[in-house]
Amino acid sequence: MVEAVRTQGLFKRFGQQIAVGGIDLIVPRGSFAGLVGPNGAGKTTTLSMVTGLLRPDGGLIEINGHNVWSDPVSVKAHIGVLPEGLRLFERLSGRELLLYNGQLRGIPLAEVGRRADELLRIMDLVESQDKLVVDYSTGMRKKIGLAAALLHNPDVLFLDEPFEGVDPVSANTLVEVLRRYTASGSTVIFSSHVMDLVERLCDWVSVMSRGHIVAQGPLDEVRRDRTLNEAFLELVGARGNGEEGLTWLGSSTA
């Protein structure tokens, strides 16, 4: 079986600091995969390298068996990306952003328009489709970003913190869309540190800590008989339990 994503010894350093220390990330095709880890574990760096936005210092990346960096033609048409930080074309309206993105991918304008209208409806953005993205709220930005990433019907979707700062209603919409998408056999990889969400959605988990993958596999194998949160805290070596110091904190009964 060909994995949707496979890296071998993927390595990146920024100056003295090793951000990603030679990881072998594996995501089977058709899975809803979660990439979890504490802040600074290297999740964003990994996703940036896998999607061709950051040049790795070493290692191999394959998506559907094609090398991302030596064979971009076979890769780029088949991936969708929502990077961190909601960096979108701010001075386009939501609809224009989708049209631009679709045309950039070589889809005929009429088809792009049809898909954009449907996506806007499902994402509940019809009312604000003609407002500039710069005036969108965080949840709206995530939704329009996801719509833009889905527009060309990619095989593999990479999402960096898609649920961060999103209100429950919008999050529910995002989840519904992603569930339908993976049910058809496409692959989603998303990074998060909300364990409940990962546990609820994912069937495959990779746990990163300090630039390394410390556990990887089907959800049930990684968490065994614990909750994912407990397994995660154990894997990344949780520090301190917050019981020392801070004696002054809290209301006193004296």
Partner: protein, 518 residues
């Protein structure tokens, strides 16, 4: 409270400099600049003493007024440099409005430039005062004038701080900043064309008009030194108090008014240019660039600046000592083309952090070439009619309309060359446009050198490559202008090819270079 705020300000200045050599250097230069300005300003102002008393008074009045205007305008244009300017940051602390007002007043008086302006104002005492009364009243007047500057500046920024934090407000201000910069060019232009009247007449009328404004009253009080001076100062003091009261009222309102920065703006009209554009990637990029030229403040600014500078060039090249004959039409048009072409020296900069969206879609260097071509086409759609107008106007000013044809053809050619050179500099020396717009900086912190090299390199490269065709035309081989457009198209095409093959391999670095935090 005063000491606390002064220390807060000093700490903010220090914290801002920590670990950043370029900022530290910048600060050192700023301090040196302030010291030089203080000393020079003080001395110059003292020298006013040598002038006849009434002229000296007029100079003093005008100078004091200019100071006040400067104090109001500069913090507005450079809003964001000073965190103590934004009252909403302090809203959560348990402070009364009065404490806040006194504290912010103290904080805004702290720093090299406020101290420098106090020293320069003190020069007015040396320059204008006569006798002991003048000196005594002068010292009071200088302090009052300084307070007037601070309070006026604070009152305006506080009243506008809500608007300044909203997106539309900032967009508007960015464009306004350019107007102000151009306004400073106006005297220059007038001097070039000869003043309408005698400078001394001008000074006298300005002096008598401004005599009754608060800064004018302060200056007059120093020169007068008697009872009228005291009366002047009482009026100034009252104005300061009223302004301070207004400021406190504005402050109180700003603290409880919701942050308007998250209110969404209105809808945009769906554009209809799309149907005239080619389909596919090329058309998408042209449409996006045209929208950005209209909606992004930076786009508006650069086009507006290009037009204004072309106008200035057109008028200042005229007259004795300037170009004669057809060259007086060709040279302004070519300079305008160069100015517009310089916008393309960092074409990816306007996308900023959103460039990744193109980067994840581009699979071959052909895609990058299409991207560059789309951007060039968008620039050309605006620039070609513009250059035509410039050529016609320049030819009309020069006196012979047919020269417009030569001028326009040559200018279009120069534009092509500039675009070609720009596609290479865009991929070799990309840099981030700063997010917070102000009229005084062109690049993200730490990329100033890169930005300078890119625009200087583009200018030099364009001039060099345009020379083989441009120089003979300027020197009189006018028939060569039929070659200008093909030559420009050729260079633009070659530049796109070279730029795309370099740029495609550097795409991740390019995205990183234009997405720097600012």
């Amino acid at each position: 409270m005063v000491r606390l705020f002064v220390r807060l300000k000093l700490r903010l200045i220090r914290g801002n400099l920590r670990g950043d050599t370029i900022k530290q250097l910048g600060f050192v230069f700023s301090v040196i600049g302030a010291v030089v300005a203080a000393v020079a300003g003080f001395l110059l102002f003292s020298l006013v003493r040598l002038a006849p008393a009434d002229v000296a008074l007029d100079i003093g009045i005008v100078a004091f007024t200019l100071f006040t205007i400067g104090w109001i305008l500069v913090p507005l244009l450079a809003f964001g440099l000073d965190e103590t300017l934004d009252p909403s940051r302090l809203a959560l602390f348990p402070l009364t409005t009065r404490q806040l007002a006194i504290g912010m007043f103290a904080a805004s008086a702290t720093g090299p430039w406020p101290l420098a302006s106090l020293i320069v104002l003190a020069g007015g005492v040396v320059g204008l005062a006569s006798g002991l009364g003048g000196v005594l009243l002068g010292l009071v007047a200088v302090v009052l004038q300084f307070a007037l500057c601070l309070v006026a500046s604070r009152a305006v920024t506080t009243a506008l701080s809500g608007a300044l934090r909203s997106r539309r407000g900032r967009d508007l201000l960015a464009v306004a900043a350019v107007f102000v910069v151009l306004l400073f060019q106006l005297p220059n232009l007038l001097l070039n064309r000869g003043l309408p009247g005698e400078p001394s007449k001008l000074l006298e009328s300005a002096g008598s008009a401004l005599r009754w404004t608060p800064p004018g009253l302060a200056a007059h009080a120093i020169a007068d030194g008697g009872l009228i001076g005291v009366a002047d100062l009482i009026v100034v003091a009252m104005v300061v108090v009223v302004l301070a009261w207004l400021w406190i009222a504005a402050l109180r309102r700003a603290l409880v008014t919701p942050d308007s920065s998250n209110q969404s703006g209105g809808s945009v009209r769906r554009s209809r240019i799309g149907r005239f554009l080619p389909g596919g990637m090329l058309g998408a990029i042209v449409a996006k660039e045209l929208k950005y030229a209209r909606r992004e403040p930076r786009g508006r600014i650069s086009w507006f600046t290009a037009i204004a500078v072309s106008g200035i060039i057109m008028f200042s090249l005229r007259g004795p000592g300037g170009w004669q004959g057809p060259a007086s039409a060709i040279a302004p048009a070519c300079l305008a083309a160069l100015m517009i072409g310089l916008q393309a020296a960092n074409v990816f900069g306007i996308d900023g952090p959103s460039l990744w969206m193109n980067a994840v879609a581009f699979a071959t260097d052909r895609d990058v070439r299409t991207d560059l071509a789309g951007r060039h086409l968008a620039i050309a759609i605006i620039a070609v009619p513009l250059l035509t107008v410039v050529s016609v106007v320049a030819a009309l000013i020069a006196g012979t309309l047919p020269w417009a044809l030569v001028a326009a053809l040559t200018a279009w050619g120069v534009l092509g060359v500039a675009l070609g050179v720009g596609s290479v500099t865009s991929v070799i020396l990309p840099y981030t446009f700063p997010d917070r717009l102000n009229a005084f900086s062109g690049a993200a912190p730490g990329q100033g050198g890169q930005a300078f090299l890119a625009s200087f390199g583009a200018m030099l490269g364009t001039s060099m490559i345009a020379l083989p065709v441009g120089l003979p035309i300027l020197l009189g081989a006018y028939w060569l202008c039929v070659l200008a457009v093909p030559y420009g198209l050729l260079i633009a095409w070659a530049g796109r090819r070279l730029g795309a093959s370099i740029g495609f391999n550097r795409m991740p670095d390019l995205v990183a270079a234009v997405s720097r935090p600012t």
